[in-house]
Amino acid sequence: MRKRTLKRSSLRRALTAFWWLTLIFLYLPLAVVVLFSFNASNSAASMTGLSLRWYHQLLGNEQIMAAFGNTLILALCSSVIALVIGCLIGYGMYRHRHRKLGWLIVLIYLPIVLPDIVFGISEMAFFVQFHRLTGLLQPGLGTMVIAHVTFQIPFVALIVYSRFVGLDPTLFEAAKDLYATPAKRVVHFMLPTIKPALISAFFLSFTLSVDDFVISFFTAGPESATLPIYIWGAIKKGVSPEINAIATLMIGAVAMAAAISLLFNRKRQS
């Protein structure tokens, strides 16, 4: 018995050590980026002192500012469109869940299971040919918004759908019973009830958009580089320390999102 507990505790200690090692593995690359963003010299191999010069350079770099703007516009526009379309389809899936909707499920999962690169080049090939034939849909922010909405729709739809499924179905009947017309049911019952789902769907869409590189890369035009595309270009041209600074800001945004989600979780638990 004694021997067994001893063995257990040594296994546990090994696991704890492994956990911390994994955490180091996960955060080391990010930490290096953050650290070097404050490097005084432009060496990528050694720290020579602390400075904020790369952040100052960022502000003066028009390309970066434009890329930052593009990223925000793209994320915002695509998330709003995807929220409306995805919400409708999520509700349709719920309301008609007793029908045979297999084809719809396949359609909805398609953007999720398709490899990024296939997704990106299909859109690119399509937009290029479509533009050659009609003169419309020139590659740029417009085509990027279209592509982003396409991969955001399924996530919104599935989040909204699962929220509806979690509701007591008699609530819909109670709303009808209490004199709510179809339009009033949407405004006073459905939208308020699924509000938490809509908020998280919006934030997920936004994050997916900012996070995406491959699909943006293939659908972008010459003027519509987003931050990830700019960073990619800068890396390809030869590393500039400025990248560390932009990357650090983006990591900071993610850390903030993580902190918020943690607080949210805590509040719900208590």
């Binding site: 509701l167 007591d168 008699t170 609530l171 009947e173 109670a174 709303a175 009808k176 019973d177 209490l178 004199y179 709510a180 017309t181 009033k184 006073h188 019952f189 308020p192 009830t193 509000k195």
Partner: protein, 376 residues
């Protein structure tokens, strides 16, 4: 008996008021004709229901699960469309009217309180949807909260309420709309026995005070008898019997109703002549009013009408039996007897008379007027 005529009178008066002016809580009568409903290809929920419910009546739809009672209620609410048939509420044809245009409100079994709203906003929901001005709304909500004695609950969030509280709020939310008809779909089934009994009484009092037409659905025959003015017993989508609680309990229309109302002492009639019938217990004499031409059907003996031991009056039926089991229930004592090899249950009030022991041979006296013939 006097009580019964009273209710009918109030109902009649309410109906007159209904047609004359509808400014106050106008109770409405309901008329159903040939209502049919089928789910899928072969599941018949309602097989042609004709039913009249009087204005201001506490009416109960009683039956086992799957008998069609809930479907009928949902058709009244407009939440389900009948395949065929007619439905008028307060003399108005409502069969094609969507639920949000019917002056009918429902208390749902799951309560269906909106989770995103406070108790106050839940109560005001129907009034708001109907477009009543805010001042009017607040007044009515305050009134109903007072009436149902909700007190400080009004400020709570829905997920902070107990089952009993949710139930009252669901009721208040429906009542505040002052509907012509209130529908209640097993609203007490999720509550524990004590609370349930208390709310049964409260609901019945409330209905009498408001004079509103209540249609109540339950599978519990005790609940139905305690609360209702009249009961309709349903089975397999067909109405088996409509009547007052005493009619349904004492004179069930058929063996199904008798069994559903809790009667165990049913004996197949093998032969009959004038007012005599043969059953497994032996030959028994009935009241001449129960005389039938055919020897079919069942004989119903209510356990509380049996007289055990002592002298049996000359015009009574006399049987002999053995006590197999005795269940002491405080206010009464239940005996499981065998008579000619057939089980028979008897219930005696605990009035200080002799208590029979298991194994005792006892004489059983049955007044002919207490015997009821029941159709198959």
């Amino acid at each position: 008996m006097t009580d019964l005529t009273n209710t009918v009178n109030t109902a009649d008066r309410a109906e007159v008021a209904d047609t004359a002016s509808r400014d106050r809580r106008g109770a409405s009568s309901i008329r159903m004709q040939g209502l049919r409903k089928q789910f899928g290809r072969d599941s018949i929920a309602l097989a042609g229901v004709d039913l009249d419910i009087k204005a201001g009546e506490f009416f109960t739809l009683l039956g086992p699960s799957g008998c069609g009672k809930t479907t009928l209620l949902r058709i009244l609410a407009g939440l389900e469309e009948a395949d065929d048939g007619q439905l008028t509420i307060g003399g108005k044809d409502v069969i094609d009217m969507p639920p949000h245009r019917r002056s009918v409100n429902t208390v749902f079994q799951s309560y269906a309180l909106f989770p995103h709203l406070s108790v106050r906003d839940n109560l005001a929901f129907g009034l708001r949807m109907r477009g009543e001005p805010a001042a009017e709304r607040n007044r009515k909500v305050a009134e109903v909260a007072e009436f149902i004695k909700l007190g400080p609950l009004v400020e709570r969030r829905v997920d902070q309420l107990s089952g009993g509280q949710k139930q009252r709020i669901a009721l208040a939310r429906a009542l505040v709309c002052e509907p012509d008809v209130l529908l209640l779909d097993e609203p007490l089934s999720a509550l524990d026995a004590g609370l349930r009994g208390q709310l049964q009484v409260e609901l019945q009092r409330l209905q009498k005070r408001l004079g509103m037409t209540f249609v109540f659905v339950t599978h519990d025959q005790d609940e139905a008898m305690v609360m209702s003015d009249r009961i309709a017993v349903l089975d397999s989508g067909i109405i088996q019997q409509v009547g007052t609680p005493s009619e349904v309990y004492e004179h069930p229309a058929n063996a199904f109703v008798a069994r559903f109302m809790g009667h165990d002492n049913l004996f197949a009639i093998t032969a009959s002549e004038d007012n005599w019938v043969d059953t497994g217990l032996g030959r028994l004499q009935l009241d001449p009013a129960e005389q039938r031409d055919t020897p079919d059907g069942w004989l119903l003996i209510r356990p509380e009408t049996l007289e055990l031991g002592g002298d049996v009056p000359a015009d009574y039926n006399r049987l002999e039996g053995t006590v197999e089991e005795r269940l002491y229930r405080g206010s009464r004592i239940e005996y499981r007897l065998t008579v000619n090899g057939h089980p028979l249950t008897a219930v005696a009030g605990n009035l200080g008379q002799r208590i029979h022991d298991v194994g005792d041979r006892v004489t059983i006296g049955i007044c002919p007027e207490d015997l009821v013939r029941v159709a198959a």
